[in-house]
Amino acid sequence: MNGIFEVNYAAFSVFAALLITEIMGAVVLLVAWPARSKVLDYLVPIWEVTGTFGAFWVVTGGFAYPALLVPVATIFTPLLIVFLILWVARGASIAFAEFITKRGWLDEARLFRAYAISTLVLGLVVLVLLSSLVGGQGVDLSSGSFSIFSWLTAGSLTFMLGTLFLAVGLAPVFFDLPSLKRLVLPLVGFGAGLSTFSYWLMSPDLLTVWMAVPIFLTLLAGALYLWPKTTRLVANKAVFLAVLAIVIFSLQSLVYPKAIGQALAIDSVTTVGAMADAFLSITAVGGLLLVVMLVLYMRVAAKGPSGPDFPRATAG
C-alpha cells in the first residue's frame, strides 16, 4: 500500500463526489428550473467547499508526485486552460447569482444558468482528463502531448456516457425528487454497465474483482431510494456524499498501481524520504482540523440555512 497515493486519491474521491453532485444540480437547473429551490439549498453553501477540495487534490498531487508535475501540466495544457477559464466562470457566476437583485438583463436566473452550463462543460473536461489518466487515451508519453482526436475512442466515449447516465440517474436520489423515482434504477443500472464496459474497452486488465464493490454500492444506493423505509436515509446529503466518495475511492484500481493505460507505475513517481514524512504529518494535522470543522459544519447545517437576507429560495 502506498500511503501517499491513498491520501491524494482520497482527496480526489471527495472532490469528485462533490463535483458530481454539482453536475447533478446543474442538470436540474437547466432542465427543471421550477425544482430549483431544492437544488439551490444544497449548491449555494457547498460550491466553495468543492473548489477547496479541488485545490486540495491538485496541491496534494503536486506534493505526492513532484516528478509528474511538469509532464502532466505540459501534456494537458490545452485542457487545463479550458478548465481554468470554466473554473473562474463557474465561481464568478454562482457568487454573483447568489446575491444579485433583479435589475437589468442580468438576473439570478441567467447567472445560475451560466453557472450550470460552465459546471457541466467543466465536468466534461474533467471526464476527458480522467479517462486519459485511466486508459491513456489521447496521451502520447514519448512526445509529451495530448490529442483530442486520438482521445476519441470507443473506450473514452463510453466512459463519458456511462458517467453521465450515472449522474443523471442518481440526481433524483440526491435531490429527493420522487416524481423521477422510476428513472433511477434503469439509468443507474445502464450507467454502471456502460462504465464497466468502458474500462474493458480501455484495457481488459482494468477489470478486477474489486470492481464489484463500486458497482454494488451504486446499485444499492439507487435501490434503497425506491424502498420507502430507506428513502430518507439515502437521500440524506451527507450519507449520499459519503457513499459516493466511497464508490469513487473503491475505483482506485483503475489508476493504481499503474495509470495512463498501464504505462506509468505510481510507486516509481511517489515522493520519498523527508518530504514523504512531511506530507503525511501535515496531512494528519490538516486532516484533524478538517474533521473538526466538518463536524461543526454538520452540526450547524442540520438546523438549515438561516440567513434571512440570502435570497436563493426566491430565485428567479
Binding site: 449555494v44 453553501p45 460550491w47 466553495e48 467547499v49 473548489g51 477547496t52 479541488g54 485545490a55 486540495f56 491538485v58 496541491v59 496534494t60 503536486g62 506534493f63 513532484p66 516528478a67 508535475l69 511538469v70 501540466a73 505540459t74 495544457t77 490545452p78 487545463l80 486552460i81 481554468l84 477559464i85 473554473w87 473562474v88 463557474r90 465561481g91 464568478a92 457568487a95 447568489e98 446575491f99 444579485i100 437583485t101 435589475r103 524520504g273 523527508a274 518530504m275 514524512d277 512531511a278 501535515i282 490538516g286 482540523l289 478538517l290 470543522m293 461543526l296 459544519y297 450547524v300 447545517a301 438546523k303 438549515g304 440555512p305 438561516s306 440567513g307 434571512p308 437576507d309 440570502f310
Partner: protein
C-alpha cells in the same frame, strides 16, 4: 509564425506579472474586508447598534463573491506557475516550499468552512458572540493563507532547506538534504510577512474606504450615510494603524536586505559604490557607475535601515558582477513607493489630527474627497512595492540559485493561451468590482437595519 525564445521570456514575465497584479487587487480587498466585517459585527453586539450589523451582513455577501473569484483566480495562478516556470516548480515540489503550499491549503479549509458557517447560518447561532467568533476563524484562515504564500516568496528571496550547491552543479537535476520545514522560517520570512500583512491590510482598507467615501458624498439617505460613516470610522482606524506598521516593517525589510540581499539593497537605494554614511537619494539615476541627479538627504540610509548613524557599511552595485544586477528601474519604483508612502502617511496624519480635534473626518466631505485619490495612490504604492521586490530579485527567480530564464518555459505554444488569460482577467476583475457595488447597493440600508 514562430516567436523567438527571448520574446517569449519577456511575454512569460509580463503574463505572470499581469496575473499576479490582478490577483493582488482581489486579495488585498478580501483581507481588509474580513477585518471590517468582524469589527463591524463586534461593534454591533457591543453597542447594540443594528447599523453595524446591517453593514456586516451586507459586506459578508461581498466577501463571498471575493472568495469565489479570488480562489478561482488563485488556482489559475498555481497552474500558470507550473506551465510558465516548470523548472522552478519542480524545485518547489521537491522541497519545503511545497510544504508551505500544503499548509496554505489547510488554512484554506479553515477559511472556507468557517465562511460557509458564518454567512449561510448566521441565525443558527444562539449566542451572537459565538457567531462573531466564527468570523475570527474566517479571518484566521484568510490571513494564514496570505502568510504561507508570503513565506513561499520569502523562500524565493532567501532559499534554504536543501543542498543548493549540489542542485546547481547537477544542472537542476539532483535535490538532496531536504529539510521540509526549514522553509517556514528563512532569513527573510519574519520581516517580509510582517511587511506584507501590514501593507496589504493598508491598501485594502484604503480601497474599500474610497468606495464608502464616494457613496457617502453621493448619498442623500440618512440611513445609508450612517452606515457608510461607520464603515469609514473602522477603515480610518485600520488605515492609520497599518500605515505606521507599514513604515516600521518597511524599515525592518531594508535592514534585512542589507544582510541577506545586499545587491538588491544597493539597487533599491541607488548605491553605485559601497560606503558608509551614504545619503538617501530620490529620483536620480545611475549613469556610468555613478548616481546623478535627484535629491539627496545626507546620512539617512543607515538611519533608515539600521536606526544607526553613519556606522554601517552599505553595499554598492560595483561589488557585484553587472550580469547579476537587477534592472535599475527598481531605484525609481522604490523611490516612488517611498514617497507615495510618505504622502499617504501625511494624509492620515491630517486625518488623525482632525479625529482628535473631534472634527469627524469620516463625515467631512473635504477629507472624503481626498480619500479617493489617496486610495488610488495606496494601491499604486502597494503594487509598486511588489514590483520592487520581484524586479529587485532579478535575474533570479530563486535568489543566487536559479534565474528566471533558466526556470521559464519559452515555448511559443504559450502565446495564445496567455493572451486568452489576459483578456479573461481584463473582463473578470472589473466585473467583480462592479458586482461588489451592485450587490452592496442592491438593497436599501434601512431594510437591513430594520431586519
Amino acid at each position: 509564425m514562430a516567436v523567438d525564445p527571448a520574446t517569449m521570456l519577456s511575454f512569460v514575465r509580463f503574463l505572470f506579472a499581469f496575473t499576479i497584479g490582478s490577483h493582488i487587487l482581489l486579495v488585498s480587498t478580501s483581507i481588509a474586508l474580513i477585518f471590517l466585517i468582524s469589527i463591524s459585527e463586534f461593534l454591533s453586539i457591543r453597542r447594540r447598534d443594528p447599523t453595524y450589523e446591517a453593514l456586516a451582513r451586507k459586506l459578508s455577501k461581498i466577501f463571498i463573491i471575493s472568495f469565489g473569484v479570488g480562489t478561482a483566480s488563485g488556482i489559475v495562478m498555481a497552474v500558470e506557475l507550473v506551465g510558465l516556470f516548470p523548472t522552478f516548480m519542480t524545485l518547489v515540489a521537491s522541497t519545503g516550499a511545497m510544504v508551505l503550499l500544503y499548509a496554505e491549503i489547510s488554512a484554506f479549509f479553515l477559511e472556507v468552512l468557517a465562511l460557509v458557517l458564518y454567512v449561510y447560518y448566521w441565525n443558527a447561532f444562539k449566542g451572537r458572540y459565538t457567531h462573531w467568533v466564527v468570523s475570527l476563524f474566517v479571518a484566521a484562515g484568510t490571513v494564514a493563507s496570505a502568510v504561507f504564500i508570503t513565506m513561499l516568496n520569502s523562500w524565493m528571496n532567501t532559499p534554504t532547506g536543501f543542498d543548493a550547491a549540489t542542485f546547481v552543479s547537477s544542472g537542476f537535476k539532483t535535490i538532496t538534504e531536504v529539510q521540509p520545514f526549514a522553509a517556514f522560517l528563512t532569513a527573510s520570512t519574519a520581516n517580509q510577512v510582517f511587511h506584507v500583512l501590514a501593507t496589504t491590510l493598508f491598501a485594502g482598507s484604503m480601497v474599500i474606504g474610497a468606495y464608502f467615501a464616494y457613496w457617502y458624498i453621493k448619498s442623500r439617505d440618512g440611513d445609508e450615510k450612517a452606515m457608510y460613516s461607520r464603515a469609514l470610522k473602522i477603515l480610518g482606524a485600520m488605515a492609520m494603524i497599518t500605515i505606521i506598521l507599514s513604515g516600521i516593517s518597511g524599515s525592518e525589510q531594508m535592514g534585512n536586505l542589507l544582510v541577506n540581499q545586499p545587491l538588491k539593497y544597493a539597487a533599491l537605494d541607488g548605491n553605485a559604490v559601497p560606503g558608509t554614511n551614504l545619503p538617501d537619494r530620490f529620483f536620480g539615476s545611475i549613469v556610468g557607475g555613478a548616481y546623478v541627479g535627484g535629491i539627496s538627504v545626507p546620512g539617512m540610509q543607515s538611519l533608515l535601515a539600521r536606526f544607526e548613524t553613519g556606522l554601517t557599511n552599505l553595499p554598492g552595485l560595483s561589488q557585484f558582477p553587472a550580469s547579476t544586477w537587477p534592472p535599475l528601474l527598481v531605484t525609481t519604483t522604490f523611490n516612488l513607493m517611498t514617497v507615495g508612502g510618505l504622502v499617504l502617511g501625511l494624509f492620515l496624519l491630517v486625518y488623525f489630527v482632525s479625529l482628535i480635534r473631534r472634527r469627524r473626518p469620516y463625515e467631512s466631505r473635504r477629507m472624503l474627497y481626498l480619500w479617493i485619490p489617496a486610495a488610488i495612490l495606496g494601491m499604486l504604492v502597494y503594487q509598486l512595492g511588489w514590483a520592487t521586490d520581484e524586479v529587485g530579485r532579478q535575474p533570479w527567480i530563486v535568489y543566487n540559485i536559479m534565474t528566471v530564464a533558466q526556470a521559464a518555459n519559452t515555448s511559443d505554444a504559450l502565446l495564445v493561451p496567455g493572451i486568452i488569460i489576459i483578456i479573461f482577467y481584463l473582463a473578470v476583475i472589473p466585473a467583480t468590482f462592479y458586482f461588489y457595488s451592485r450587490v452592496f447597493n442592491g438593497s436599501k440600508a434601512r431594510e437591513g437595519i430594520a431586519a
